[in-house]
């Protein structure tokens, strides 16, 4: 049954219990017609832009009454500015960036919204081949090398408040390396990571795929750890927008979420779909790389560049039965705890209050309910990260202050 027919059924009888979410939230306003039908969604050339791109390519957007216009962007700062000034309606964006803008860290301050999580897993930390040749192939051996051969070690993330910078910080600290005082951390755009490592400008980087696999293909880097081994099923990119956009266009927001959810479902449904996705997003208009660079890791076929290969059950997931997309409050709060830990925030924010403002669980529930996707009961989840520290979102202040290594 398509959503259109569901809507008709619901409209025919206001007493229907079929769409509790839609009924209360949408029909209260009188109509579910998207307020804005053309939706510009910014994306950065990375494998995890796939659900947004496929929602448009496969026409799921039309099914829900909107037209998604995927808009390729050159930088996260550009995505940020365009979201803030309304040139973009939404974006495939870094979780931490959305939170950083909401709190005005280092740039414009604007009330933001996370509509849904786009993917779990599928990023990695790459160390240069030069370092690997000296024995640094994982966190422990890197720490030993850095203690033995003292010099300035340079590691890159993709945006100061973003996801990759936080993974990089967390990983180094988990192995006793203070990323603030014991290493140099820089920001480099994803497509430039491999080129910079090739010319010896950096010792390691954290970035989304396909760039880690590409470093292996080019013989210049090795995968020291995948981010799923850092935090299994960690939150990664989100579908982000401004609070104003949601306020003015709630139906559009819901329609886009449905289209992207359906695309997420489609990608995770089969190997064939994943291969089709890889072929699509590899094109010039999207990631502009070879299909080979993308399709290995999305299928879970990993190699570390040193001869080890494995099948990773926790590869990049876009849907995973709906477990991927729910915007857990604890996920959003985690980025704030790390912003505080590394001195990006000078004081403790109201962690839960901020997460509740940004993560639109209300909208997500409407949409998931209409699509019969299960929603967890608890907006907080429990995760054990690589250093053995458990994060459950219950005492963010204590968690943020509790790390031995911090700024």
């Amino acid at each position: 049954m398509s959503r259109r027919t569901l809507i008709k059924a619901a409209a025919a009888s206001s007493a229907t219990g079929m769409l509790p979410g839609l009924q209360s939230a949408v029909y209260a306003a009188g109509s579910d017609k998207p307020e804005k039908e053309e939706v510009k969604i910014g994306f950065i050339p990375l494998t995890d832009c796939a659900s947004v791109v496929m929602a448009s390519v496969l026409g799921f957007d039309k099914k829900y009454g909107v037209k998604i216009i995927p808009t390729k962007e050159a930088s996260w700062a550009g995505v940020r500015d365009k979201l803030v000034n309304g040139e973009l309606d939404m974006a495939h964006v870094l979780y931490g960036l959305v939170y950083g803008v909401h709190l005005g860290i280092g740039g414009p301050k604007k009330d933001m919204a996370v509509l849904m999580n786009l993917n779990n897993n599928g990023q990695a930390i790459t160390l240069s081949k030069t370092l690997a040749d000296k024995g640094a192939v994982d966190g422990g051996s890197l720490a030993k090398l850095m203690a033995r051969e003292k010099r300035e070690y340079t590691f890159a993330g993709t945006f100061p408040t973003g996801t990759h910078a936080m993974w990089m910080h967390y990983w180094l600290a988990a192995f006793g390396i203070n990323p603030v005082t014991g290493a140099k951390l820089i920001t480099v755009p994803p497509p430039q990571m491999v080129a910079n490592m090739r010319v010896g400008n950096m010792d390691g980087f954290c970035v989304g795929e396909p760039w880690n696999h590409r470093a292996i293909m080019d013989g210049i880097g090795i995968t020291a750890i995948t981010t799923q081994d850092l935090w299994k099923d960690h939150p990664e990119k989100v579908l982000g927008t401004t609070s104003d956009f949601v306020k003015n266009n709630p139906n559009t927001a819901r329609a886009v979420m449905m289209a992207v959810l359906e695309a997420s479902q489609w990608i995770d449904a089969s190997l064939q779909n994943k291969l089709k996705m890889a072929e699509t997003v590899a094109q010039k208009a999207y990631i502009n790389t070879s299909v080979d660079a993308i399709n290995q890791r999305i299928l879970g076929r990993y190699q570390n560049g040193l001869g080890k290969t494995w099948d990773d059950a926790n590869h990049m997931k876009f849907f995973n039965g709906g477990a991927v997309n729910y915007p857990y409050l604890s996920d959003g709060m985690w980025f704030l705890t790390q912003h505080k830990r590394w001195g990006l925030l000078k004081d403790h924010p109201d962690y839960l209050g901020v997460a509740k403002q940004i993560n639109r669980i209300d909208l997500y529930k409407d949409v998931a309910g209409a699509m019969k996707i299960s929603v967890p009961k608890d907006p907080l989840r429990t995760s054990k990260l690589i250093d053995g520290v458990v994060w459950d979102g219950k005492d963010p202040k204590k968690y943020a202050d509790g790390f031995a290594i911090k700024a």
């Binding site: 500015d81 000034n85 340079t154 100061p160 920001t187 755009p189 430039q192």
Partner: protein, 214 residues
């Protein structure tokens, strides 16, 4: 506040330009970006602007900007360099400087919104060089104006929080010694004068000691 502000021609400008060595020649976007940047530089130079450096957006950008400490940074709005620059902005967020973005976007209707969002100015590429000058002048004036407001706000906040500290210290003295408010204030002021400290600092010390003993 600062009537002797130099004209923008005397500004030490750094331009962050795409690195043509890293750019993929088949990437039309990168080629356009490089060309746009080149024409902007020529325009500025022809108008007598003091371009002290043209830096590639590479991993050394933060270090080089720290060395040169330019008065203004100009960068392409659509360039990958933006994220590297964002790193600089965050690392030096207590010492802000004007950043001008230039763009090929002819539609300037969003410029106001962009400026409000924190970017100092948008310059549309292809704009005649003599028109760039007033834009940069306005950008700098606007930046200084905002910095002034920011400082005033910070001062006002400090003053307010200091007043709160003094009030709390007065309260402690009133409670501990049964003083009147005036007498409590006089005692704080006398201690400040005797020790050569600021009133707010004395008040803060009293609160700290009181917390310690509590």
């Amino acid at each position: 506040m600062n009537p002797t502000r130099p004209s923008t021609a005397a500004l030490r400008i750094v331009i962050v330009a795409p690195d043509s060595l890293l750019a993929d020649g088949t990437d039309t976007r990168a080629v356009t970006e490089a060309e746009r940047s080149r024409s902007l530089r020529i325009g500025l130079l022809e108008n007598g602007y003091n371009i002290v450096a043209v830096l590639p957006a590479d991993v050394f950008l933060p270090d080089r900007l720290a060395q040169i400490a330019p008065d203004m940074i100009i960068v392409d709005a659509e360039s990958q360099a933006r994220d590297t620059l964002e790193h600089v902005v965050l690392a030096t967020r207590d010492a802000r400087r004007p950043i001008v973005l230039f763009t090929e976007d002819e539609d300037t209707s969003h410029v106001g919104a962009a400026i409000a969002a924190g970017v100092t100015a948008y310059v549309v590429a292809g704009m005649a060089p003599d028109r760039v000058k007033p834009v940069l002048e306005v950008a700098l004036a606007r930046f200084e104006h905002e910095e002034g407001l920011r400082r005033e706000l910070a001062d006002a906040r400090t003053e307010l929080s200091e007043r709160k500290v003094i009030d709390r210290a007065k309260g402690l003295l009133i409670k501990a010694h049964g003083l009147t408010e005036d007498a409590a204030y006089a005692r704080l002021r006398k201690t400040a004068m005797d020790k050569g400290l600021r009133l707010a600092d004395v008040a803060q010390r009293l609160i700290d000691v009181s917390d310690l003993l509590a």
